[in-house]
Amino acid sequence: MSASDPSTLFPPLAAPGSNVRAVHDPFHGDLLEVSMGPHHPSTHGVFRMVVTLDGERIVKLKPVFGYLHRNHEKIGENTTYLGSMPYTDRLDYMCSMTNNWAYALAVEKLAGQPVPERAEYLRIILAELTRLLNHTCLAGFLLQDTGASGTPLMYAFREREKILDLFESLSGSRMMCNYQRFGGCRVDASPQWLEAARRVAANYSEFLDEYETLITGNEILMARTQGVGKLSPELAVSAGVTGPMLRATGVNYDLRKVDGYGLYPRFEFRVPLGDHGDTYDRYMIRVLEMRESIKILQQAFRDLPGGPIMDPKSKLRGFRPKAGESYGRIEGPKGEIGFYLISDGSPNPYRYRVRAPSFVNLTILEDMCLGQTVADAVIILGSVDIVLGEVDR
């Protein structure tokens, strides 16, 4: 075969219907493998995805984890039950209050520890404030990912700061709250604090109105997010997706309603459900959930009873639950956060396992991104709402 033979210039394409792609396909370019992250502003931390591209379309996407791995579970096995409590703050560092609650709930199930009513109300108040905080941040970051540089994120962070101030004045720390205890809470909320929190909750819907006027009906946001990263309800259920991502596909599963943990059955609120399971729905569900959270907060402030915040029989130091195991889960802002504990009667848990919502939610990242462009993958990842402290643990 000579060099001028035209057949070498145009080698045959792959057989029709075959999945095998001819390597030198004159009508398509070669595939390109791009490593996005771990240091990339759009990956929300040290997350990396190895993306295989055909032009600008994604044909394969493999997430790579572990850049923030510190073996949280082993550390949990080597410390006491109470010693793990401040460490759960570092899992999902946006939502330390809900992490604390999930862990406290698992230990309370393990030891059969009751919780006084006022503490349950305080937990609900703080969990719903955390939900507001998390969803606000997500909306800001999502807009940042679409290219709305700065303004929406700063609006969101302005509101976030108000909630963080509340957390700081109650627990002493903005983000690492370390507030819940087995059988109650650490410090009581003063009337002044409750008044300040009530004011924040009352003004929040005004902020949401303002934010929604700016963003929700925005044509560019709709064009960038509607129909992008669609997820079917069947796949979402099979892949264990939880939280707003699951409800955006139209599956009605909210642990606050299903498990009715804490005192949630006393509260009246609705579970917003999506229709299409795309990125816009995921954004919209979060905005609607914030409005429901405000309703829950108002009911909690209205009904908050007096009384102790710690069960008098609860034991923190020298706490040794009897042998057994328990799995406790709550509806965190990102999805189902669960703790699985096995006790062998010693002061340390024999096995301490964290079921992290955003780790499991990432399972279907590839399925949502296939066929989309790289720019869309950034938005889809933003709508999954990951925090790497929790993914890598």
């Binding site: 042998a323 195991e325 499991v360």
Partner: protein, 224 residues
């Protein structure tokens, strides 16, 4: 939802001859679990998912537990008649028995369609060294994909039938499995300006005895 005993009875009629055991949980949480032999685990998982009364379509949590082999000392008391004709003596005999170790993979299953759960399924490996394969549930519940990879990574349990079994949190070249109970941390001693108990102990193991002890290391020069 039916009780675990009823479910256990149904499973025994559905899988005759299989050794399915209810593992009792004495804690107040009362979350009892089903111990399933490896050979029927896959079919049983399909049954749990597809049975209309159960419809466990959501596999929430997959995790591993390490149970190393342990020495059990059993004390048995027996009365021996006194040959001299006195009162019979009580003699305690101690027998040592080594309970072989194994890994356990625990699945927490819930139903989103019927909103009940959890049904907890445990699968055990044969031992802790060479017989560490269990069937993967990822073909049944996709949520197992990353979580089973994590169990493989941190415990060294291999899952047959998993589509993409690689390390996930540790790097690919890493050799050991850090969540095992007998894992030994690497010697990563670093001198600290204020050595305290744990650091001093690490230093003692790190340095051979002839070398300068860390307490004698000169403190850093004071800042002007």
């Amino acid at each position: 939802m039916e009780s675990l005993e009823q479910l256990h009875g149904r499973l025994l009629t559905r899988f005759p001859g299989a050794e399915i055991v209810v593992v009792n949980n004495p804690a107040p949480s009362a979350q009892h679990s089903l111990l399933v032999p490896r050979d029927v685990a896959r079919e049983l998982a399909f049954f749990l998912r597809d049975d209309p009364a159960l419809a466990l379509d959501y596999c929430s949590n997959v995790t591993g537990v390490d149970w190393p082999e342990k020495e059990i000392i059993e004390t048995t008391k027996s009365t021996v008649p006194d040959p001299a004709g006195g009162a019979p003596k009580v003699v305690e005999t101690k027998t040592k028995r080594i309970q072989p170790g194994y890994f356990e993979v625990v699945y927490h299953l819930f139903s989103i369609a019927l909103k009940h759960g959890p049904v907890i399924v445990r699968v055990r490996t044969g031992n802790r060294t060479d017989d560490v394969t269990v069937p993967s549930f990822t073909p049944i519940w996709r949520s197992g994909e990353f979580q089973e990879r994590e169990v493989y990574d941190l415990f060294g349990v291999t899952f047959s039938g998993h589509p993409d079994l690689r390390r996930i949190l540790m790097w690919d070249e890493f050799k050991d499995h850090p969540m095992r109970k007998d894992y030994v941390e690497p010697d990563d001693y670093e001198w600290e300006p204020t050595p305290h108990g744990v650091v001093l102990e690490k230093a003692r193991q790190h340095y051979p005895p002839a070398v300068v002890a860390p307490a004698e290391t000169p403190p850093p020069a004071a800042k002007p």
